[in-house]
């Protein structure tokens, strides 16, 4: 994206980040990563999501370790997402099922812990502006999604996801596909947007979708057909 997307949403105020993790060393590490980016500021940290949010009620993005005190916090993730909180899940659990489940529950993005500073900063910045960011591990999970009700991706979207997952370099993907880096990012982001209809509804998904339409990434009618069959927990219309 050309113009600074975050400024448009947050004005001059830096993006407020809350970090929820039960390992202090990870909290410190992520804090150090984010400190290298002046547009980000860490407002609160802790191992209890509720306590952290009480300390920083206006946090723009929550970085949530999916495994808190030995159990998967998918319910908490869904609750926060439904309430419109932009949650970036980061986890050492990088099996595709977990990643896709986190997206279904409304996570704005999924970041594997090994993916490093650059992806972390990028992901948080994108999340703050309700824009998708697909780190390579998540791209792998999406391209290998075996579920029968998975969103239908176009060949180009699939190939872009696959190559991005393999090479972790959009420049190399662009060269391989003989398209521009911008187009590579568009394919990847479009694929991600198609996943906003999967799983439970969440305010964050609506926000992602709205921003994608606003940015011209997808047209509303393109989204409508990718209806997930995982509707069991939706209120009956």
């Amino acid at each position: 994206m050309g113009a600074d997307p975050v400024a448009a949403v947050t004005g001059d105020r830096p993006v407020g980040v809350a970090i929820v993790d039960d390992h202090p060393v990870v909290v410190e590490g992520v804090r150090a990563w984010l400190a290298t980016e002046p547009r980000l500021t860490v407002l609160a940290t802790g191992d209890d999501p509720d306590a952290v949010l009480r300390a920083a009620p206006h946090a723009d993005v929550i970085l949530l370790d999916l495994r808190l005190h030995g159990r998967m916090a998918l319910d908490k993730l869904a609750e926060l997402s439904a309430a419109g909180r932009r949650v970036v899940v980061y986890s050492e659990h990088t099996d595709p099922q977990t990643m896709l489940a986190a997206l279904d529950a409304g996570a704005v993005a999924f970041l594997a812990k090994h993916e490093g500073r650059e992806h972390c900063v990028e992901t948080v910045l994108a999340a703050a502006s309700d824009r998708p960011y697909v780190p390579p591990a998540l791209a792998g999970a999406m391209v290998g999604d075996p579920r029968p009700d998975r969103p239908m991706l176009s060949d180009k979207e699939r190939e872009a996801l696959l190559l991005w997952f393999q090479s972790m370099s959009k420049a190399s993907v662009a060269r391989r596909m003989q398209i521009s880096e911008h187009t590579v990012k568009q394919y990847v982001d479009r694929a991600r947007i198609k996943y906003t209809r999967a799983g439970r509804p969440a305010a964050t998904k609506a926000a992602l979708l709205a921003r994608a339409i606003e940015d011209g990434l997808v047209r509303p009618e393109e989204i409508g057909i990718y209806r997930s069959q995982a509707t069991h927990d939706r209120p009956t219309p």
Binding site: G140, P146, L162, F165, Q166, A171, S172, R175
Partner: protein, 402 residues
């Protein structure tokens, strides 16, 4: 198995062939199926002989003995006994024959005892004048019923019965007054009653035994042909793998041993690493694991890691079962790139039902392609291979599509 018999024999080509004697010795059949085939052949052969024996006994009894008994019935000392005995033997013989054909013969010794009692009774009731005529039907018939009674047993039993029969006849002859002509007749009759039943009895036993043996030899031949075939196939596979191993490691080892290669030369070190990676993968190839492709890639990654290369192996999905040829084409081109890798490597496998994509990315660096994976892309059957370097990364990718 029958097709294997037509396979050309290569005794010199197959050192593992289990039995190298030129004439296959019939082995003791060790499996139930190997046992069943010769037994079935023997059973079929034995059944034919039983039918013949039953037919001879009953036909003789009815066609030859009965008319003679009926025509001479007035001249017997006790016609009722001779006729009654004939009927008794006819009924008993028929039952014994049927039971024998059904495979559940009557108990031999009670039956033999009954026949001997009949024998004695008929000799006593026939009277002197009918002693050596056809009307004294026990001469001609009884031997065949002895055969039925002791069918499948040792010939000694039959000989004992026939000897007892001869003894009974001798007593009858002596009781009626020893006339030299009668004694001569007696010897001739005894010879006649012995020879045919014993010949049939022994002959059938021998035929059954031969049939069993031939079937066993034939089964052993089949088994040997199958074993040889399997051994040859195993040998062929081992040769193929040996050729692969030789091409992987043989040359560099030869150069090192011959002093043409300097172990300090980075190029030689790289060749060694490549050879080791190929060997490691070939070894992994023969492991019996649920996910062979991942197992083989893990083996290569493991080796690279042990050589100090941080390597990230990420797998998405489970590969479908792939033939070893396809797995080789998927994994081999990447092994060369992996041996060249410096700094780090990212190995990814994305599998679906119809597609498996393996990719290896390593940082690009100065210098030519030393392992020589050709730049660009080519198709190798169902596996497509792509390799490129862009100054930033070296990227090798193999992709199998169903």
């Amino acid at each position: 198995m029958s097709a294997d018999l037509n396979a050309p024999a290569h005794p010199t080509d197959a050192p593992e062939a289990p039995n190298r004697t030129s004439v296959p010795t019939p082995r003791e059949p060790d499996s139930p199926t190997a046992l069943a085939a010769p037994a079935a052949v023997a059973h079929a052969s034995d059944r034919g002989a039983r039918i013949a024996a039953v037919a001879i006994a009953l036909a003789w009894h009815v066609a030859i003995a009965l008319p003679a008994v009926l025509s001479a019935r007035a001249e017997f000392a006790a016609p009722a006994v001779v006729l009654g005995a004939w009927i008794l033997v006819a009924v008993t013989g028929a039952v014994a024959g049927v039971r024998l054909l059904q495979g559940s013969p009557l108990p031999p010794w009670p039956l033999a005892g009954l026949l001997l009692v009949v024998d004695a009774a008929v000799f006593a009731a026939a009277g002197e004048r009918q002693l050596f005529t056809a009307a004294n039907w026990v001469w001609g018939t009884l031997g065949w019923f002895f055969v039925l009674a002791v069918w499948g047993r040792r010939v000694v039993g039959l000989i004992a019965l026939l000897s007892t029969h001869a003894l009974i006849a001798l007593v009858a002859v002596l009781v009626h007054g020893p006339d030299p002509a009668d004694v001569a007749r007696y010897v001739m009759y005894v010879y006649g009653t012995f020879s045919l039943p014993v010949a049939v009895f022994v002959g059938s036993t021998v035929i059954v035994g031969l049939a069993r043996e031939r079937a066993a030899v034939s089964a052993a031949g089949h088994a040997m042909a199958a074993e040889r075939d399997a051994a040859e196939r195993g040998l062929r596979e081992r040769r193929d793998r040996l050729a692969l191993v030789s091409s992987a490691a043989g040359r560099v080892l030869g150069d090192l041993a011959g002093g043409q290669a300097d172990p300090d030369d980075p190029e030689v070190q790289r060749r060694c690493m490549l050879a080791a990676a190929r060997l490691r993968r070939l070894i992994a190839e023969s492991d019996d694991v649920p996910d062979p492709l991942l197992h083989e890639l893990r083996a290569a990654a493991d080796l690279a890691e042990r050589n100090g290369l941080p390597i990230d192996l990420v797998t998405i999905g489970t590969p479908p079962p792939l033939p070893v040829e396809v797995r080789r084409r998927l994994a081999d081109p990447l092994t060369g790139t992996l041996a060249d890798a410096r700094g780090w490597a990212r190995l990814t496998v994305v599998s679906g039902l119809d597609e498996v994509v393996v990719s290896l990315v390593t940082p690009d660096r100065e210098g030519p392609e030393s392992t020589g994976p050709p730049l660009g892309e080519h198709d190798d059957g169902p596996v497509q291979y792509l390799y490129e370097r862009d100054g930033n990364i070296r990227w090798a990718q193999t992709r199998w599509r169903r």
